[in-house]
């Protein structure tokens, strides 16, 4: 099989998606940007949750760090979000490394790891809500500058849309590239059987910390993008458990530990939830959350590996059948 094919597929699909603004109205372009934001965040979570199998329920923490870093630095020092992005990356890397070090060093696993992460992201909500310099519970508005590269801002949605496409293409290429690297193989080994991985020379603690940092930094980048699009950050909109769970729902429904899964999940669920919110939000508030719950239960029951996992399995079975046919037709000589 051509090893370059998956990369080409990502770039080609990314390029085709760029044609969407020609066809979509402003409302649907807004949904398209949301899809890209959540797809990117879900891909970022997929590294620690999908590949390394550590189900963090608190990646909103890193998204929030990213979003608040740019918002605060712009508000207070009129600093360009490009520099803010660098600060966001540094802060989230530090936080993810520190939390990962504490949590994995003491071998917190499964539900315990999930609980610690959810506690931290919730704690962040209350901490931020009580810091006046960060806007307190009301959050922070960011100054609007129109079309400005310096302020990483665009008038209208198209600029954000292209930025989002670039980010998602980038994270897909990154994931695809890492998928054939020792690091990701080690993460998968940790997920599949931690004791066996350790016995085969994998420094499982180090691998998990690295995955947490990579996932956290990318979530912070997603948070920066989120802040730049809405020009508003609030404790509950970027930190907290609701956001954190939203991030992982797309990855789980789309397919844990697959390159495309988180994107597929976001493409299917974000529009569904936005349209439900638009249609039923007034008469039945929270109905989109009910929808998420339902979809999650159905996925867990019928597609534990998500949509892409299912597709991969079907593809493998099909491929397996066709190779056995080849072997048969050659009289079993193929080896």
């Amino acid at each position: 099989m051509n090893l370059k094919a998956p990369y080409i597929r990502i770039v080609v699909i990314g390029a085709l998606i760029c044609l969407l603004p020609l066809f979509l109205s402003s409302f649907y372009m807004h949904i398209a940007v949301l899809v890209l934001i959540w797809a990117f965040l879900a891909c970022a979570w997929n590294i620690i949750g999908g590949y390394a199998g550590q189900h963090s329920l608190g990646n909103g923490l890193y998204m929030g760090i990213g979003a608040y870093a740019v918002a605060f630095l712009l508000d207070r020092f009129n600093m360009t979000p490009w520099l803010g992005l660098v600060v966001a990356i540094a802060l989230s890397a530090g936080a993810a490394a520190f939390i990962g070090w504490i949590v994995f060093r003491y071998a917190l696993k499964g539900a315990y790891f999930a609980l610690v992460t959810i506690a931290l992201t919730e704690a962040a909500v209350y901490v931020v809500s009580n810091i006046p310099a960060l806007g307190g519970a009301g959050g922070m508005q960011m100054e609007y500058h129109g079309n400005s590269l310096y302020y990483m801002q665009f008038a209208g949605q198209n600029g954000y849309f292209f930025m989002g496409v670039l980010l998602v293409v980038f994270i897909l290429l990154l994931t695809q590239w890492y998928r054939r690297k020792r690091f990701f193989y080690q993460l998968i080994a940790v997920r599949e059987n931690e004791d066996a991985a350790e016995a085969l020379g994998v420094d499982t603690v180090k691998a998990k910390i690295k995955a947490n940092v990579m996932s956290g930094v990318l979530c912070a980048v997603g948070g920066v993008f989120y802040a730049q699009y809405f020009l508003y950050v609030g404790p509950r909109s970027v930190f907290g458990e609701v956001v954190s769970v939203q991030i992982l729902i797309y990855a789980i429904v789309g397919g844990l530990g697959t390159t495309w899964g988180p994107v597929v999940g976001a493409v299917l669920l974000v529009p569904l939830s936005e349209i439900t919110r638009a249609q039923l939000g007034n008469s039945y508030p929270g109905s989109q959350l009910l929808l998420y719950g339902g979809v999650m239960v159905l996925t867990m029951l019928f597609m534990p590996f998500g949509i892409m996992g299912l597709a991969e399995r079907l593809h493998q079975r099909w491929q397996h059948r066709s190779t056995t046919q080849v072997v048969d037709s050659q009289g079993g000589e193929a080896s």
Binding site: R180, K181, R182, Y185, Q186, I188, A189, E192, N193, D195, A196, A197, E198, A199, L200, G201, V202, D203, T204, S335
Partner: protein
């Protein structure tokens, strides 16, 4: 010449229970050592301490002249001491080749090289036809071979085999015998924990017998089999007197 492995006073307590008590032995390079004893005598606990999965309560372990007691399993493995597990421990949702690649990554950085090593190891243990099968779809014999291939891929100097013959048919035991003997002739030192006597007696140059965590006998397979203390341990005092 110093021995490849020197164990001195190795002890492990679980609360009041002494699982391994003051075990002292040496393993020379190229040897095959059988570690035998009744169920619950401390064999697997000993393996767990040697491989770094469990910290000893007391005692020292020197491998290749370097003290390794209490260091983490992944570092022990990278020093050249690998193990297989009594209860097979595959990575279920990835292919056999990918399973073995994890071990190969100890010595190579690139996926392509690791895959080449992995396929070579699968060939050695006779799993080539199953190279692209998910580990969870393999049979017990195949999983036991996979365990060995995974450990071999780390290029060990010393390999600890924990009951690789248990549960296999007579023909399968023969296949496993040949494989281990071949690997030994290529320079890998073995410590073998096994209840299938045919397997361990055929392979071992020397046997160490433990009971209730303490060493009760040491010698060639024949010497050990004729040792009254060993009979007593396996069959009980009365039977050995009869």
């Amino acid at each position: 010449m110093t021995a490849l492995l020197e164990v001195h006073g190795l002890t492990r307590r679980f609360g009041g229970l002494v699982a391994v008590n003051d075990l002292t032995f040496e393993v020379n390079e190229g040897e095959m050592i059988g570690l035998i004893g009744p169920n619950g005598s401390g064999k697997t606990t000993t393996f767990s301490m040697l491989s770094g999965a469990l910290k000893p309560s007391a005692g020292t372990i020197a491998f290749n002249g370097e003290r390794i007691e209490g260091i983490k399993a992944n570092r022990v493995c990278r020093k050249g001491l690998a193990r297989t597990f009594q209860v097979v421990q595959p990575f279920p949702d990835i292919t056999a080749t990918e399973n073995v690649m994890i071990g190969a990554f100890v010595n190579v950085g690139g996926a392509r090289q690791a895959e080449a090593t992995a396929r070579e190891m699968l060939e050695r243990v006779g799993l080539t036809p199953k190279a692209d099968t998910l580990a969870k779809e393999l049979t017990l014999l195949q999983l036991k071979r996979l365990e060995i291939a995974k450990a071999l891929a780390t290029e060990p100097k010393l390999l600890l085999l924990d009951e690789v013959a248990a549960g296999l048919t007579s023909t399968e035991v023969d296949v496993m015998l040949r494989l281990v003997r071949q690997l030994n002739s290529e320079g890998i030192t073995f410590i073998i924990v096994e209840h299938v006597m045919r397997f361990v007696m055929n392979l071992s140059h020397r046997c160490i017998v433990i009971d209730f965590g303490s060493q009760i006998a040491e010698g060639t397979p024949e010497e050990v089999l004729n040792n009254p203390a060993v009979h007593a341990a396996y069959l009980g005092e009365e039977a050995s007197l009869a």
